[in-house]
């Protein structure tokens, strides 16, 4: 549902770094806690990219599983939405991975393309 707005953010970041060059691939890291539907993100990205240097670019999504760490030292991968520590039951739990939503890199062709930004 929020994938449309997120796809726009990805496109903006990619275009800002493309510098007018044709973009072939956009690499993003998607944390499990962001509740992003991958197919929906790819679909919206493809539509928004039309007519820009990102048209036809592959959106490579790297899923990042969620990892939590408790103040008691316990560390685990989150497989169901429970943010209390399974060992001590405490709530002093921090998310150490899984909240990412980041454009990591783009692959561009070195010949400038003429499509509008």
């Amino acid at each position: 549902m929020h994938e449309l707005a997120l796809a726009r953010g990805i496109l903006d970041a990619a275009l800002a770094h493309a510098d007018g060059r044709r973009v072939r691939r956009v690499e993003v890291t998607v944390g499990a806690l962001r509740q992003v539907v991958g197919d929906s993100l790819a679909f919206h990205f493809e539509i928004l990219a039309r007519g820009t240097p990102c048209e036809g670019a592959q959106l490579a999504q790297r899923p990042q599983p969620a990892r939590l760490r408790c103040a008691c030292g316990e560390e685990w991968e989150l497989t169901e939405p429970s943010f209390r520590c399974g060992r001590c039951g405490g709530a002093r739990v921090s998310v150490i991975a899984g909240e990412e939503l980041r454009v990591e890199a783009i692959e561009v062709e070195e010949e400038p393309c003429t499509a509008r930004r």
Binding site: M1, A5, L6, P81, F83, A105
Partner: protein, 230 residues
């Protein structure tokens, strides 16, 4: 023609967060604290605000409240609230790309000139009814609260952890309906605790007025908070 890899390393929501910080700075400069109020459609955001505003947020202490009403379309909610003689500004998301399902920092920024910030101490932003998207987009608020009505079922914290984790306060609304529902309030609260053990919750019926005072007290508490840089 060869391909080159270009490092980007940029958070997708960076642009939004930058504008949200600018909004926050403007609110701080005006001495206004801001609550971002979110929920599913029909959970009772407007009804709860009507109740609170009709009673006066705090009777023994004058906290002047303004409302920024976010809707995809129309001004029905704003009309309901303006009957209570509080400054209400309508913000429609429809002119955007097909009508956004949430408010973002830029939309709130666009509405800033219309907000009577010098007349209020607290601005409540009633977000678009939606349990997913609004959780992603900061708009410059000091506090985030949500309403979960008991008719939505006890499983919602588990299905929408992003939203339930984004909020410091969860108002459990429509508790007057509990006798008519199969819902287990105990399970709902247990699920909330699993997803966000730090969230405070209030049991409220905006219809009967039960628990509304506690929500009013929370709003007043937010209004008294010191500005913390975003």
């Amino acid at each position: 023609m060869h391909r080159t890899k270009v490092k980007v390393a940029q958070d997708v929501l960076d642009a939004n967060d930058t504008i949200a910080r600018a909004n926050r700075a403007d609110f701080d400069a005006a001495g206004v604290r801001v609550v971002n109020l979110m929920s599913a459609p029909g959970a009772g955001k407007t009804t709860l605000l009507e109740r609170v505003l009709a009673d006066g947020v705090v009777r023994d202490e004058a906290v002047r409240v303004g409302v920024l009403e976010g809707d995809v379309q129309g001004s029905l909610d704003a009309e309901r609230l303006s009957a209570l003689h509080v400054p209400v500004t309508q913000l429609n998301t429809a002119p955007g790309f097909g009508g956004e399902c949430h408010l973002d920092a830029n939309m709130v920024r666009a509405a800033l000139p219309e907000l009577a910030l010098d007349e209020i101490e607290l601005l409540v932003i009633e977000n678009v009814g939606n349990l997913v998207c609004p959780a992603e987009f900061r708009v410059g608020e000091d506090a985030r609260a949500m309403i979960a009505s008991v008719t939505e079922g006890e499983d919602k914290p588990l299905k929408y952890p992003l939203m339930f984790r984004a909020c410091e306060l969860v108002v459990i609304n429509k508790i007057d309906l509990l006798p008519h529902l199969e819902l287990s309030l105990e399970d709902l609260l247990a699920n909330l605790d699993r997803v966000n053990p730090h969230a405070r919750h209030l049991l409220v019926s905006a219809r009967t007025g039960e628990g509304v005072d506690a929500f009013a007290d929370w709003l007043a508490e937010v209004a008294r908070r010191e500005a913390v840089p975003a």
